[in-house]
């Protein structure tokens, strides 16, 4: 790994970690926790969709599995919250691997892949809304038990740091993917699957690896949701909202970049809050804004906010070019 590859991640995480020390506002911290939660889900989408080029419309399948497994293991089987959390991530990754094995082996890609992931999420949603173990239509309430042992922090800052730690892991994993042979193969499959296969890349296996990692991240977001809000039902866990928001965060922030989903999540949540301020509690307008931003980004900034930032930085470079050109000519 190149030196400094992790430096930017360390710097960003360090700055974010200082926020609760400076700002002691529950509203701000709550906002940031939901943004970090979305970052996790978005990073999951990004690994598969951004680096692998496989657009999923059903990341709710992984998010919901994480949330339900965490909640069910705690409430029905009395498991420790931390163990349940880890089990939720593993279960989500497992669902990802199974869906990946089924779809990629059948050679589904493009719109077909998007559709079939959507269908899987819907099947899980319907099952969760009738099965007794998921609390059917009522949902599951996790018992309030403040403290680190039950993964319910007494302060919002504690929870914020926990979420930030998860996001930091996701960022590092994404950076590692970027810099390893696996990541290079994944990008090759995205750019041209036939060509990658011709060069000896086992495309199915690479995509399978990507969807498993991707699902684990989305599942972690689901576990986090369950622990933070202490309530889930079928419409929350497996509802299409999270599939859409995960995709939005990655695309608006910048697909196939390490910090894209984090940027995107912050932008989306800010826009959502702004829309709420404008209209009060009338539902709908925030999502209208998301939809408009999605189309505008696709139309005018295909590399998302990260791309715009990069272009802006590049436009500052000409100040330094004479020196660089001189160096090149020597």
């Amino acid at each position: 790994m190149k030196p400094g590859a992790l430096f930017s991640i360390a710097a960003v995480v360090a700055v974010l970690a200082c926020v609760p020390l400076v700002i002691d506002s529950n509203v701000v911290l709550n906002f940031l926790v939901t943004a970090l939660l979305l970052t996790l889900a978005g990073q999951g989408w990004n690994v598969l969709g951004g680096y692998g080029g496989q657009y999923s419309f059903g990341h709710a399948a992984f998010f919901g599995t994480g949330a339900y497994v965490t909640a069910i293991l705690q409430m029905q089987y009395g498991l420790n919250a931390w163990t349940a959390f880890a089990a939720g991530i593993v279960a989500g990754a497992g669902v990802g691997a199974v869906i990946g094995a089924l779809t990629f082996r059948s050679g589904l890609r493009g719109s077909y892949f998007a559709l079939v992931t959507l269908a899987f999420a819907e099947v899980l949603r319907i099952i969760a809304s009738v099965a007794p173990i998921t609390g059917a239509g009522v949902g599951i309430l996790i018992k309030l038990d403040p403290g680190v042992r039950a993964l319910q922090f007494t302060s919002r800052a504690g929870f914020y740091w926990f979420a930030l730690a998860l996001v930091a892991i996701a960022l590092v994993v994404t950076r590692l993917i970027e810099q390893t042979r696996f990541g290079a193969q994944l990008v090759a499959v995205r750019e041209n699957e036939e060509a990658a296969r011709a060069l000896g890349v086992d495309a199915t296996r690479v995509k399978l690896g990507a969807i498993t990692i991707s699902a684990a991240m989305a599942a972690a977001a689901g576990c986090l949701y369950a622990q933070y809000f202490l309530f889930i039902d079928a419409a929350i866990a497996y509802g299409p909202w999270i599939s859409v928001e995960a995709l939005l965060a990655a695309i608006i922030g910048g697909v196939g970049t390490v910090f894209g989903p984090l940027l995107g999540a912050l932008v989306i949540k800010t826009l959502g809050e702004a829309a709420k301020l404008l209209t009060g509690d009338v539902p709908g307008l925030d999502l209208v804004v998301y939809g408009v931003v999605l189309i505008v980004v696709v139309a005018f900034a295909p590399r998302g906010v990260a791309g715009v930032v990069a272009r802006f930085r590049a436009s500052l470079v000409p100040l330094a070019t004479p020196a660089r050109e001189a160096a090149l000519h020597d």
Binding site: Y55, Y112, E122, L247, L294
Partner: protein, 289 residues
């Protein structure tokens, strides 16, 4: 199960299936020509249902008459969407088209949620509960009308595609875009025409649905996967496939509802959809995947 329950369930499934076919017809035409999956199809149906609802509520226009206005209006709307939004915004990239239509779906659905709230609305028409006796059972008249109209629309579409110049141009673009362009066909115009026709199908379906159905901002979602299932089952881009697929899906849904109950009954459709995509992605009548 006794035949006196089974037979009406199948007939009901066929009648519902005809409307699924009509919705799927628009989707399959757009796919066949533009090779895109239009995620906004379901929300366009919701918009058309709302339009039919308000035309009845505010102006007292019967939904069956409203077709005459709504079909051209939605044709124009669809034409505009493809020509001025989807086409330019997606730069011809398939992944982008998927995202732009998803964005449109999110916008349209939530704009309606914002404007009309989540309330479920229904209309009262004098013939809403009219029935005719048939082979020892009673069949709802509005659903029979829906069935007939769906068949007529499919026939008209087939005639349009096969006998008119516009239809020829559409088929030419579907087969070979570049070649069609070289022959002087305006591809952007044909794309938009196709999208407009697909949207008009949805408007017709909405006018046929509203007398016996309800409308709320999320109602289109229920039809999205059903329409996709229908299209995939019949083979993407195939018109007879969409018709047969629609009838088949209608019957499967009706039977699953009978055996598994209302909420679990939907699962039959999704499982069928997943299985078909996994094992026979070209559909039952499709030419190729």
């Amino acid at each position: 199960m006794h035949l006196s329950i089974l037979f009406p369930a199948i007939v009901n499934g066929v009648l519902t299936g005809a409307l699924y076919a009509l919705i799927a017809l628009g989707l399959t035409l757009v796919y066949g020509v533009l090779h895109i999956i239009n995620f906004a199809h379901g929300t366009l149906l919701t918009a058309a249902l709302f339009a039919a609802f308000f035309m009845h509520k505010m102006l007292g226009v019967d939904p069956y008459l409203a077709v005459l206005l709504l079909a051209p209006a939605f044709f124009a709307f669809g034409y505009g969407l493809q020509r001025f939004v989807i086409g330019p915004a997606s730069h011809g990239n398939d992944g982008n088209i998927l995202l732009v239509t998803l964005g449109l779906a999110v916008i349209i659905e939530n704009a309606m949620l914002f404007a009309f709230r989540a309330d479920t609305r229904t209309i009262d028409v004098p013939y809403g509960f009219a029935v005719v006796p048939f082979a020892g059972m009673f069949i709802s008249v509005p659903r029979l009308v829906g069935f007939g109209a769906a068949v007529v629309v499919a026939l008209l579409m087939w005639l349009l595609l096969n006998l008119t110049d516009t239809g020829k141009a559409i088929r030419a673009v579907a087969k070979e875009k570049l070649g069609a362009q070289l022959c002087g066909i305006d591809v952007a115009h044909v794309y938009a025409m196709t999208f407009g026709i697909g949207t008009a199908c949805v408007a017709i379906a909405a006018c046929l649905l509203i007398p016996t159905y309800y409308v709320n901002p999320h109602v289109g979602n229920a039809f999205v996967l059903i329409a996709f299932t229908t299209v995939v089952l019949g083979g993407m881009g195939s018109i007879p496939g969409a018709l047969l697929g629609g009838l088949f899906v209608g019957v499967v849904e009706s039977l699953c509802g009978l055996y598994l109950g209302e909420s679990l009954g939907q699962i039959g459709i999704f499982l069928m959809f997943i299985l078909v995509l996994l094992f026979r992605p070209s559909g039952l009548l499709g030419e190729r995947a």
